[in-house]
């Protein structure tokens, strides 16, 4: 990444305008051109430096729910279970972690009841218990990586 890439990643984590030509507006701030910014974003997404670019929806504010859940999956069965879990559209992220609780995923469903239903389907399909850790309080959320 060159200095312009870094500036783009830093600046565009903070927000993007809702105007007719938003790339032109953001490019002016970054000291580059509209077309160059678009090309750089395409490349950053293609290289996997960015996982996505766009609106981040808060499903809870649309009447839905998020939850964090975890499973303890035996090593030998891990890939099968990961395949089942990842195939579900309700799973937004899934991480393998180094722990007895070795699979951690975030569920996002359009209704509050959807979380329990999705967990039930995972338990039925995998044969393992899903531990649900819905947030009780949100103290802070803001992932901004300075690069």
């Amino acid at each position: 990444m060159d200095p312009l890439d870094r500036a783009i990643v830093n600046r565009l984590q903070a927000g993007f305008p809702v105007v007719e030509r938003p790339f032109a507006a953001a490019a002016r701030e970054l000291g580059t051109s509209e077309d160059e910014l678009i090309a750089r974003l395409e490349e950053l997404l293609e290289r996997g430096v960015l996982t996505r670019f766009g609106p981040m929806y808060q499903i809870e504010r649309m009447g839905g729910a998020f939850s964090l859940a975890a499973m303890r999956v035996p090593r030998a069965d891990f890939e099968r279970v990961a395949g089942i879990v990842n195939a579900m559209p309700e799973i937004a992220h899934n991480y393998e972690r180094e722990h007895d609780f070795n699979m951690w995923f975030v569920l996002a469903t359009e209704t509050r009841e959807g979380i329990g239903a999705a967990i039930g389907r995972i338990e039925a399909a995998t044969g393992y218990i899903v531990f649900n850790f819905p947030k009780l309080k949100e103290y802070f959320v803001e992932l901004k990586l300075a690069v």
């Binding site: 783009i8 990643v9 565009l12 984590q13 903070a14 927000g15 993007f16 809702v18 007719e20 030509r21 938003p22 790339f23 678009i38 974003l41 997404l45 290289r47 996997g48 430096v49 960015l50 996982t51 996505r52 670019f53 766009g54 609106p55 981040m56 929806y57 808060q58 504010r61 649309m62 009447g63 964090l68 559209p89 937004a92 992220h93 899934n94 991480y95 393998e96 972690r97 180094e98 722990h99 609780f101 699979m103 951690w104 995923f105 996002a108 531990f131 850790f133 819905p134 947030k135 009780l136 309080k137 949100e138 103290y139 802070f140 959320v141 803001e142 992932l143 901004k144 990586l145 690069v147």
Partner: protein
């Protein structure tokens, strides 16, 4: 989220939903992305922008922007630290842990006895595990005797990272 925002009726109608479906995978990378969304959603461009602004104002959209892959950016140590904090003190201490500049997410979550005694989760992303360890010492010092124990769970693989998806 401010109390004011909490009072705004946050909900989406069928038109909003079409806009969500057209943008949840990302914004089109072209000069007039909202016009492209308008074509995909079958909604006039001005209406798309007005509705996106409303969804931003009431917190349905947290923000519009770039989501970095922390591994690709060199933040290879992703530590989910979990703490067993006195229930009477967790609400006072949680915001202070969240306010530490190196903590990206901080939540109170339920314990699941006897399997899981931890009720405070704080995510720490650093370049290596040594750096994460230094940051955990700062959190431990802040929590002091309100904390009965903690662990850190490092991620070893991203199995999936798509963000939320409403079914079309």
């Amino acid at each position: 989220m401010s109390a004011m925002n909490d009072m705004i009726q946050a909900g989406i109608d069928a038109t909003d939903r079409r806009i969500v479906l057209a943008t949840q995978g990302g914004l089109p990378l072209e000069r007039e992305p909202y016009a492209a969304v308008a074509r995909a959603a079958g909604v006039p461009a001005g209406e798309v922008m007005r509705r996106l602004r409303r969804m931003l104002d009431c917190g349905i959209i947290r923000r519009i922007g770039a989501v970095p892959n922390h591994y690709a950016l060199g933040f290879k140590a992703n530590g989910m630290s979990v703490w067993d904090v006195d229930d009477a003190r967790v609400d006072a201490l949680g915001p202070r842990v969240g306010a530490l500049e190196f903590v990206s997410h901080c939540y109170q979550r339920p314990r699941v006895p006897p399997h899981w005694p931890f009720n405070l989760f704080a995510m720490v992303h650093e370049r290596d595990r040594g750096e994460v360890g230094e940051k955990l010492a700062v959190i431990a010092a802040l929590l002091g005797d309100a904390c009965r124990g903690h662990e850190v769970l490092y991620s070893t693989r991203i199995l999936k990272k798509t963000g939320l998806r409403l079914a079309g």
